[in-house]
């Protein structure tokens, strides 16, 4: 049909393409190589679910490429692109947590019920995992962005959509709680 044949032109046509796509295929491949692993780590450690992290990471990149207001790597730089990507991932995580948890047992993967042995867990997982599980989801995100990614308060505000002033206080409290939990675990392991 007429409109279907006109779509490739609408998508791939010269100026409109540059206006919509934040980067070309090769630029994206490079950006993906540099950003995918930190993004996956963020999603996996804040959600505690590697399978969910796989899905959300892929969805974040696809949405990044499709979003009409994605920052362009050429004009705004990779840092802005990465921040925008983390923002998408943060929103996806938040949507996941808000969704009512109604899943059938048939859909649950087999390894969901199998508790991994200590040998399967890395040192950092054994130390950070239980402490992270006791934190609120938003605090996990704030702590990861601040201490693993090294984002400033204003950058975290941009990623999470929270006010910069409130992040300072929230982060202070979350860090204090996390330090207490980590300290307790360390003392427990040495005893």
């Amino acid at each position: 049909m007429f409109w279907e044949s006109s779509i490739p032109n609408a998508i791939a046509g010269g100026e409109s393409r540059a206006a919509v796509e934040p980067m070309d295929n090769d630029e994206f491949a490079g950006f993906y190589e540099r950003s995918a692993r930190p993004l996956w780590a963020y999603l996996a450690r804040t959600s505690g679910d590697p399978a969910l992290a796989d899905d959300l990471m892929q969805e974040s990149f696809v949405r990044f490429l499709c979003a009409p207001r994605s920052p362009s790597q050429a004009s705004e730089g990779e840092v802005a692109c990465r921040r925008y990507l983390f923002r998408i991932a943060t929103n996806l995580l938040r949507d996941h947590w808000r969704r009512p948890r109604a899943f059938s047992i048939e859909e649950t993967p087999e390894n969901f019920f199998a508790r991994p042995g200590d040998s399967a867990l890395s040192d950092s997982q054994m130390m950070l995992g239980p402490a992270m599980a006791q934190m609120r989801p938003r605090d996990r995100q704030l702590l990861w962005l601040a201490h693993a990614e090294g984002y400033s308060h204003s950058e975290i505000a941009e990623v999470t959509g929270l006010g910069s002033a409130s992040i300072r206080l929230l982060l202070f409290r979350a860090r204090r709680k996390m330090a207490r939990l980590l300290g307790n675990q360390e003392r427990g392991r040495t005893l």
Partner: protein
């Protein structure tokens, strides 16, 4: 300043970000961190998170970027199809509404004039095609029926005109 924060926290944070903690820092600062709760918390939490980030990043199997690129292209194409199809759907709904309106008007008119339609329908099997043709012919010539013919005709022309203009603009 936040209650419980330390003025030397920034210094410690910079060392942690550069990966210079604890080897490349003064023993005096190490001593301070040992005694200061705020700086101690910062070191403990940042070290744990940095280690977790490095380990998690190293152990992940990533899908090839081409797959995601292709998925994004497909999604954008579908979005474009949907965007283009939306006015057409609107036009279809509008046409349906006009037809329903005309049908309601027709039924209303028939009810007001008595049950002439039912009589005509009852006579239909007996007289077959000839009677149907007569009804249609008389309906077209009847002046009371002319708005019933004119309204849908005008609506159809307007609708088709809108679609043609829209497609022409889209093509440009």
């Amino acid at each position: 300043m936040m209650p419980g924060t330390c003025p030397r926290e920034k210094e410690v944070k910079q060392l942690l970000e550069r990966g210079q903690w604890p080897q490349a820092c003064a023993s005096e600062l190490r001593g301070h961190v040992g005694g200061c709760r705020s700086c101690g918390d910062l070191v403990l939490v940042t070290t744990a998170f940095r280690r977790a980030r490095a380990e998690a990043s190293a152990g992940v199997n990533l899908p090839p970027p081409g797959v995601l690129w292709w998925r994004a292209q497909l999604r954008r194409r579908n979005a474009a199809v949907e965007r283009i199809g939306r006015p057409i759907l609107g036009a279809q709904i509008f046409a349906l509404c006009v037809m329903l309106l005309v049908a309601a008007g027709f039924v209303g008119l028939e009810l007001r004039n008595g049950i002439g339609l039912l009589d005509r329908l009852g006579a239909l099997p007996q007289t077959a095609a000839r009677t149907l043709f007569d009804h249609w012919h008389s309906a077209l010539l009847d002046t009371t029926w002319s708005p019933m013919v004119l309204i849908p005709a005008a609506a159809t022309v307007a609708l088709l005109g809108g679609v043609v203009v829209y497609l022409a603009v889209e093509k440009q």
